[in-house]
Symmetry: C2
Subunit: 226 residues, 2 copies
């Protein structure tokens, strides 16, 4: 398979895309340590999947290891970044500057991975006008105008559950193309808007489940989340 074929960017299942993000993190770790190559086995061991699964995941976009050599890290990293849409910087709006929103506004990991928080919004007049990491908080009445003016494509929702659907609809009207929702509620969105949600309590519940299952079945073995 040639480079040209790979550029065709095939459809990749969401679950495989999740693993690609995690391969990428691990490859960046390896590169920082000065490693030049890796193998399906090493990648699989690091993420808790089989070498066959790694080969299949990387095969979606035509990355094949060489017997006895493995993968070139310097080639695999930009290939995965391109497949994930991370060869560019994304502007992100954050709505809801309460405790969680404030923490997300200061979270260093977003910037480190090619995201730029470009606008903050809150409905509370006591929060509007404050600054988080040098960025001023706008009122939600400014949301559509600011997002259009800045050409922002992604938005994080960190408002209370009761307010989330209305905020989502405002974001959709503003032309937002993807929503990352922290409010513990299902949002109803048009199909053209991409959607990722995290319910922090659901993840903790999953941990309780894993501990309970160990109790009941004497089960062992690590199970990595998210």
């Amino acid at each position: 398979m040639t480079r040209r074929d790979r550029a065709a960017s095939p459809w990749i299942p969401r679950v495989a895309a999740g693993r690609l993000s995690r391969y990428l993190r691990y490859l960046e770790e390896l590169e920082a340590r000065g490693e030049a190559t890796t193998s399906s086995k090493q990648l699989g061991d690091a993420l808790g999947v089989t070498a066959a699964q790694v080969r299949k995941d990387l095969g979606y976009f035509g990355q094949f290891g060489f017997p006895g050599l493995g993968y070139k890290i310097s080639q695999l990293i930009p290939d995965i970044r391109r497949i994930l849409g991370m060869e560019r910087t994304w502007s992100v709006a954050l709505v809801g500057i309460g405790n969680l929103g404030n923490a997300l506004g200061r979270y260093k990991g977003f910037h480190a991975h090619g995201f730029r928080l470009s606008a903050l919004f809150d409905a509370n007049p006591r929060i509007v006008g404050r600054s988080v990491e040098g960025l001023k908080v706008h009122g939600t009445d400014q949301l559509e105008r600011v997002i259009r003016d800045k050409g922002i494509e992604l938005a994080i929702i960190a408002v209370p559950a009761a307010a989330a659907q209305a905020v989502a609809e405002q974001l959709v009207r503003a032309g937002i193309r993807g929503i990352y929702n922290f409010a513990p509620v299902r949002l109803s969105l048009p199909p053209e808007v991409a959607y990722v949600s995290i319910d922090l309590a659901v993840e903790l519940e999953q941990l309780a489940f894993l501990v309970s299952q160990r109790d009941r079945d004497g089960l062992e073995g690590q199970d990595s989340g998210a």
Copy 2:
């Protein structure tokens, strides 16, 4: 299948357990609205899976709908809670009271779902002694003693990446049985310790991937995360 058989608590795949948490949230919504029954189709539509998948997931623990009647919500909720290990309250320690840890310490969703934050820890002497929601922050030098004294089983790690592995090892020595990790780093843990992790930037990267994929392939259709 009798009630007794169901009490045997079969092994349930992790991905199915994730859906059980989300069925539970939706069932609680339905119950709050005064509904008495639901169907595989309704549950599936709400979560974006097929009715057959719902039947399979609930079948793991012997819950079968009745033709024309569906499932009794008042029976399904406690059954799912029991399977998830949520028929009890879990005590949780939180390590790292920076921006994110502070937000997690105030997050109402944990308490609402049967978790009790019972101890807070930080390594920074300027943070030790502060209170978050009435709970005092201990120094990490007190971690093992406090966790043992209080019989805490679950812990949330919200420290910087560079400190996370050492904190995890301290938690393991203290007898913690499950770790919920927000530090963007893979932790190496003994197999008897359950593990769930969230990398907030990885999830945002997944959103960027979904938007990019729509660009490239004209793909439509919602894809819910985590």
